[in-house]
């Protein structure tokens, strides 16, 4: 029973404030669904953010925390009234901890048809490994 209700594809997940701070605006916020995959050279993120465009998306990377913030201004059909609703309208926000070293200069973000595509190239400089020697007594 639960599985049907929480069907990830049809129900948008609303953000639950985890820390004490709340948003000042009353509008709803949702968690965008994402695909994240890693290739040899980069980390790719695809996020579903229907209703947002290039002007309403904010992406920040600060100390390994990547934040995707998208505002949605949905135009309501004029003079029509909402009779039946299966989904709510609101912005999207999600944060990720990015573990790899990312080359911040070369991050590419593009949005098309409500899907944000982020490419985070891994930094060239390889993390230095420190070899451990067995100490002789």
């Amino acid at each position: 029973m639960n599985e049907q209700l929480s069907n990830p594809e049809t129900q948008k997940q609303e953000i639950v404030e985890q820390d004490q701070a709340e948003r000042t605006r009353e509008s709803r916020m949702y968690v965008p669904r994402v695909d994240i995959y890693e290739s040899e050279a980069a980390i790719h993120i695809l996020a579903d953010i229907p209703g947002a465009d290039e002007n309403s998306i904010d992406i920040t990377l600060e100390k390994n925390v990547l934040t995707i913030d998208a505002d949605v201004h949905a135009e309501k059909p004029q003079d029509y009234s909402l009779m039946y609703a299966e989904y709510g309208i609101g912005g999207f926000r999600r944060k990720f901890n990015i573990s790899n070293e990312i080359d911040q200069e070369r991050i590419v973000a593009e949005v098309k048809d409500g899907v944000l595509k982020l490419v985070l190239p891994k930094s060239e400089k390889v993390t230095q490994k420190i070899s451990v020697k067995a100490a002789k007594e």
């Binding site: 049907q4 980390i43 579903d48 229907p50 009234s81 609703a85 309208i89 048809d113």
Partner: protein, 151 residues
């Protein structure tokens, strides 16, 4: 003290929501046709329905990442069918998936309209991942005003 919020949903609204939720649950439990794993083809995409008594309905659906050519909208009589398929994700050996939350595959959804529509005037647009369909009510079905004559 009575504390009241302007936008507080009434009990009836809550009940209504619950009922819709139940309906959806039963609907999808009995007629669940899945293609691959992916989209639950029965109740995807979620739709919002907007109405204006005289002129018809507008239906909006969030279907991000669609190719317009893969979207198929059909109107037969008083039923509307939306079908399409969303691209299968990259399948590459050199790629390692961390998360896979977005649905993919094909879907079909049919809904019953409350009135016959003017098929020639149906319009649809797809913008920023949101599909919007205008369904004008058929001229012959529009309510007519009857004037009362004084004798």
């Amino acid at each position: 003290m009575i504390y009241r919020r302007k936008s507080k949903p009434s009990l009836w609204e809550e009940m209504d929501k619950l009922q819709k939720e139940m309906n959806r649950m039963f609907d999808s439990a009995f007629t669940n046709r899945l293609n691959d794993r992916p989209l639950n083809s029965h109740d995807f995409p979620a739709m919002n329905v907007w109405t204006k008594a005289e002129s018809g309905q507008v239906i909006t659906a969030e279907i991000p990442g669609m190719n317009v050519d893969d979207l198929d909208i059909k109107v037969v009589g008083e039923t509307l069918t939306i079908s399409g398929s969303r691209q299968v994700p990259v399948d590459d050996e050199n790629v390692r998936y961390h998360r896979q939350e977005r649905g993919y595959g094909s879907f079909t959804r049919t809904i019953q309209l409350p009135f016959p529509i003017d098929v020639d005037k149906v319009e649809a647009n797809y913008e920023k991942g949101v599909l919007k369909i205008w369904l004008p009510r058929a001229e012959s079905d529009k309510p007519r005003k009857i004037t009362v004559k004084a004798i």
